[in-house]
Symmetry: C2
Subunit: 359 residues, 2 copies
């Protein structure tokens, strides 16, 4: 499929807000907006394995577009998973219902790094993601922009060592304290792959890139500054340079370092255009720290969607009003949960768009 | 056993630091210092169920004293569990190895509150805790003070609804958004029980009380201010009033609201003498927010204990130096994990005591 001639973009409010330009309405989308909370998603999922869906561009495209049929959203985000990179370097990952991702053979010692193939050709190995992006960008017909994404190095490393979810990330944090050199080697290798992976997503049609450092909150500032921040900056700078070398227009990039309240000022200086916030950070506190030179994204407590629509509306109106004194993209502070009602998300999206902004 | 004539206290540095008085050395202890990381604890645990250990004063006393044999600690904390209160009001809780606590029959709807017995007589139902405290206080022979503790209302409520651990606490948070009145009823009832429970711990011999709001970080500031803070204040004020009515000397109280970085200034005004910090909060940031009128406790990343002793020493020296400009109790930012080495804790404790403080 041709990735050079895409339909003209009709709603650019997300891209404008991401680069600090004025918007005619506050853009809104929701992390994990294509997911199990939608009956039409569960219908597809019943017939297909999770990673089969990721690897089949037609299916990934189908579920990416589903929430846009229901809600007045300002962005699509390609259906995929952050763990496609550990898979690409040779690790097995299974998605176990009601449990999440499981690595049958996680990394145990630094010697295990030798088992990984960091010289993998991401052009062929992750081609299915680029194909899904190109197909979806066409099928969107310019309705809204398409977001690409990746897991950040530390978050991928922690999954690769823990072998799944963890309440403490103590095994992977033990590497940071005990195997400092091996940790930097792993993080550096993942960073190189991520730079190429994100750049190729843009070549394929992604119009904004989000980097998920989902496990930032397990670290404190010292570990974050040593094992996350330098790699996040290298990703930002690396993608910019690589896109330039590829003759591609640059795209805005978003960093979501969940629960990294301690890192806000450092992230503001990291070169990312957008900082996505979890719900524990107050809008005005964040704005005071990052200033108006960075776009903020977020951050309604996802569990607020369990409330009645009228209450969702109140909470959303209040949040948007507080954030909208500076460049802003409305979102949740984390992804949708499987047991949520689509009506909750509808109430959220509509409340964003109805909020009167006095700029 | 007589709870009126206890041996004279020889090391009061914990109690002095907790109330802002000068100390000859920085007091140090570790959350979960009596636990599975100790081979001698595992020996006892092999022969006894977890809650049987809690309910048998001789066993609870034995494991409470174990870490004091190995390390130069300035406090003992009674071996018990925050879930003894849900048990006391009629819920079944099992401790499943490698999984943690499991409630076979968690609360599902507000109607389920009727199944709970909030008028339980905590004097008889939790007598085993008081007996363990009295026995341990005698056996300590005044070596160090004995700390009593409880789970805070929201943290207990979330366990009672989730039925065990959760990555999101989405079921219990759904109550806060959807069943506001029932949530307040449950939290209020738990608060009343906690006030009496803590007061009776003091009657039995506890010399400082710590309240664990372990699940604070799942909430943002708005939910915390509605569903946590007022109950934490009621506990603080209630215990003070109850101890006075009982003719008991007052004791210092510590609040540990894990991951509640957004609540520091509110906690500083809540009446607790000590605020215990998780490791994501920088010492100087915390001190700036709370001032010198409150004692800070914490907050080394527990995973730092996986490092080599020399590195633990460096990290601990740096932390103590930063904190010790104000009243301070050294601790970890969370409890010991089962796979840690006792040598790591030894390095931490010794590093605290060797740190030169220029006050």
């Amino acid at each position: 499929m041709d990735s050079s001639k895409f339909p003209e973009l009709k709603n650019d409010s997300l891209l404008r807000a991401a680069t600090g330009r004025s918007v005619s309405r506050i853009p809104v989308w929701a992390m994990r907006q294509a997911g199990r909370y939608l009956p039409e998603f569960r219908q597809v999922r019943e017939k297909h394995d999770f990673f089969e869906m990721c690897r089949t561009p037609e299916l990934a495209c189908q579920v990416t577009l589903q929430p846009l049929e229901r809600f007045d959203l300002d962005a699509a985000i390609i259906f995929s998973d952050i763990l496609v990179i550990p898979q690409a370097v040779g690790m097995e990952v299974k998605m176990v219902p009601k449990q999440g991702p499981v690595f049958p053979d996680p990394l145990q010692t630094p010697d295990d790094l030798q088992k990984l193939n960091f010289s993998v050709d991401v052009h062929t190995e992750l081609k299915y993601v680029y194909d899904a992006i190109t197909l979806t960008r066409h099928r969107l017909e310019g309705k809204v922009p398409l977001i690409g994404f990746t897991g950040a190095p530390w978050t991928l490393m922690s999954y690769m060592i823990e072998g799944g979810g963890s309440k403490t990330m103590s095994k992977s944090k033990a590497w940071l304290y005990r195997h400092r050199e091996a940790s930097h080697k792993l993080l550096g290798n993942l960073t190189e792959i991520i730079v190429e992976y994100l750049s190729q997503q843009v070549v394929a049609g992604a119009q904004l890139l989000q980097v998920f450092e989902s496990h930032a909150g397990f670290l404190g500032r010292a570990l974050f500054n040593e094992f996350c921040l330098p790699y996040l900056v290298r990703i930002r700078d690396g993608v910019r340079a690589r896109l330039s070398a590829l003759g591609q227009d640059k795209v805005a990039m978003t960093i979501f370092a969940k629960d990294a309240h301690y890192a806000l000022s450092d992230l503001a200086a990291s070169g990312y255009e957008v900082i996505s916030l979890d719900w524990t950070i107050e809008p005005q506190t964040a704005r005071k720290i990052v200033g108006n030179g960075v776009t903020l994204q977020g951050n309604l407590d996802p569990c607020a969607l369990y409330a009645k629509p009228e209450r969702i509306r109140e909470l959303t109106n209040a949040m948007v009003t507080e954030f909208a004194s500076g460049p802003y993209i409305a979102n949740l502070g984390h992804g949708m949960y499987p047991d949520m009602s689509p009506d909750g998300l509808a109430a959220f999206v509509n409340a964003v768009h109805e909020t009167k902004i006095i700029a």
